[in-house]
């Protein structure tokens, strides 16, 4: 039952076309006074381009307020993009509504940060998992039960009968997150968006969940967008990583490349602020760029990192925003004038 269906996305992937193609995406939120007077806008996602291939796992790394969650929600059609194009499986997402939108939602799975919050507390697991199936017209109790059991067993909640009748609060955090993943897989999606799926879990459980995501992603040949603030969880579980700052992608590269040769000063700063556990950490000051994360309401001019950047070039960085396409290597893109 776990063999992936031959789907349109698989055939597209065979032709080398990406599942998801994002171009110039902007998601702005209006700030209003008295409910109608527009006084400004939050530029949460402000010009993002990337592609995601079938069977590929890509991480979006960034700090809170960098727009990574807004990006996820825009891709899930929970927010309406202000500008730019999203193409999924070759179909543009803009203006999708009604049954076409519903169909799209059936093809994209969503895994959230807080597993307990992501499950309605008043439904048992069986009911929780039946919901997407009912919504997408899977008829027949027996058929639904079969698919629910298969999904539970696929995420390692075996036997399914032990979990089905329970309520979310009767499960551990790791089990809850497994149920969330099972729900995301139920409709046999082509893409999964996981927004900080392990940041609320204990260290010993994190690895399990990351491994599970990696496994189902491979088995179903899914495109997986893994959103995280924690670079250290990226290394073994993704193919490519994109670093977001101030609503834009500042660097994207294969993960090993990114960790070994970070190109953007912000990526460097992130890496130097982090460290593997070591007793010497306590005796050295880490290099941290000063200042605060940029305001998304009035973002800095030019390169958004320039006020905090050690290498900022006066007369350049604060004036012109760097294009996101400096390529020191073919698969490594950096938005920084240093690489011009």
């Amino acid at each position: 039952m776990t063999t992936p269906q031959p789907s349109a996305s698989a055939s597209r992937a065979a032709r080398g076309e990406p599942v998801l193609c994002v171009e110039g995406l902007q998601t702005h939120f209006d700030l209003r006074q008295w409910g109608f007077v527009r006084v400004g806008s939050v530029r949460a996602v402000d010009g993002v381009d990337f592609t995601l291939d079938a069977g590929e796992t890509v991480a979006v790394v960034g700090e809170s307020g960098c727009g990574k969650s807004s990006l996820a929600r825009t891709l899930l059609a929970l927010h309406r993009p202000t500008d730019g194009a999203i193409r999924f499986d070759g179909t543009p997402l803009n203006g999708l509504s009604g049954s076409a939108l519903k169909a799209y939602r059936g093809r994209v799975g969503y895994v959230q940060q807080d597993p307990y919050g992501a499950l309605p507390p008043f439904m048992d697991i069986q009911r929780i998992l039946a919901e997407p199936l009912i919504i997408h017209g899977v008829r027949g109790r027996a058929e639904r039960a079969r698919r629910i059991d298969a999904a539970l067993e696929e995420v390692g909640l075996t036997p399914a009968a032990d979990t089905r009748g329970k309520f979310p609060h009767q499960l551990s955090g790791g089990q809850q997150q497994r149920v969330v993943i099972a729900r995301a897989l139920l409709l046999r999606p082509a893409m999964i968006i996981a927004d900080e799926p392990v940041s609320m879990l204990d260290a010993s459980v994190r690895v399990e969940i990351l491994e599970l995501l990696r496994r189902v992603q491979r088995e179903h040949h899914l495109a997986l967008l893994y959103i995280t603030h924690d670079l250290s969880t990226v290394r073994h579980y993704v193919d490519r990583a994109m670093v977001m700052y101030g609503g834009r992608i500042v660097e994207q590269a294969p993960v090993a490349e990114l960790l070994a040769r970070p190109g953007h000063p912000y990526t460097e700063a992130l890496l130097s602020a982090l460290g593997d556990p070591d007793a010497d950490n306590a005796h050295r000051q880490r290099e941290v760029p000063g200042g605060e994360p940029p305001s998304l309401i009035q973002p800095p001019s030019g390169c958004r990192f320039h006020p905090r950047c050690r290498h900022a070039m006066p007369g350049k960085c604060e004036l012109e925003p760097p294009p996101p396409d400096f390529r020191p290597r073919p698969d490594h893109r950096i938005a920084c004038w240093l690489h011009e």
Partner: protein
Amino acid sequence: MMAAAPLLEIEDLGLSYATEQGTLRAVDGVDLRLHRNEALAVLGESGCGKSSLAKTLLRTLPRNAYPPTGQLRLDGRDVLGLPEERFRREVRWVRIALVMQAAMNALNPVVRVGEQVAEPLRIHHRASRRQARQRAAEAFEEVGIPTDFLRRYPHELSGGMRQRAVLAMALVTEPDLVLLDEPTSALDVLTQASIMNVLKRIKHERGVSFVFITHDVATASELADRVALMYAGQVVEAASARAFFSEPAHPYSRLLMASVPRLYQEQPPSSIPGRPPSLLDPPAGCRFAERCPWAFERCSEPPPMIPCGERRQARCWLHHSPGGAR
């Protein structure tokens, strides 16, 4: 250094809660020792009892907690039996201060942060308004907040600045011991690193001692001189940071260290199968035995803390040698 009496001594500390399902033993026989100018990381996963330990130290226990048992000595003086009013006047915020995880909850949203930072001084040191303001400004500088932020309200500060303000509030009375309860886990990587930098500097310059409660191994390594790892209400390993991070002694320590995702290591992390036991009805023997790949017959007996090196103990029969301490 070793000759001096420890600043904080915890002996056989126990704490239980009354719950609907029965009595939950959150902290069970914890022994800890902290010297001056030392930072002790109390490390553990959720539900291991580390937060209950912190709450016992500052007496901020919820109503359903039974009175803690055991010994808790600050500078050789028992504080567990101290009446509430004396504890408030002589210990809380005078000797031990607290930095909480959610800085927004720790600050009163309608009072300027400067006044809030000065507040402990006004209460405990009976400082004049002027003196208190002066000290608050110094504390702000010390934690790296521009002093003109004194007049701002909490919501006008970024998360990192708020956490710094809470830190300033803890330091302003010059306590001997600062209790850090997950001080950075709600913060971003860069902010976290800069706050850890401030803490390191303060420890170095002021000689403050820290009890640093955290679930994050990497963060613990940023400050700790010593590490106490907790599991299911007990300390399972107490060791110097150097020994703990390079060569963990307890099986749980080893597996936990192996489960930490690392940036610069080819070896992928591994998970620990199973779940911690229920504290409503913990197993009679070693509490980790069920998940332990090295478990043997002896593990059905509860292991004591067994010395296994310089100021180092592990609650594991593997370190027991019949001839005595190794």
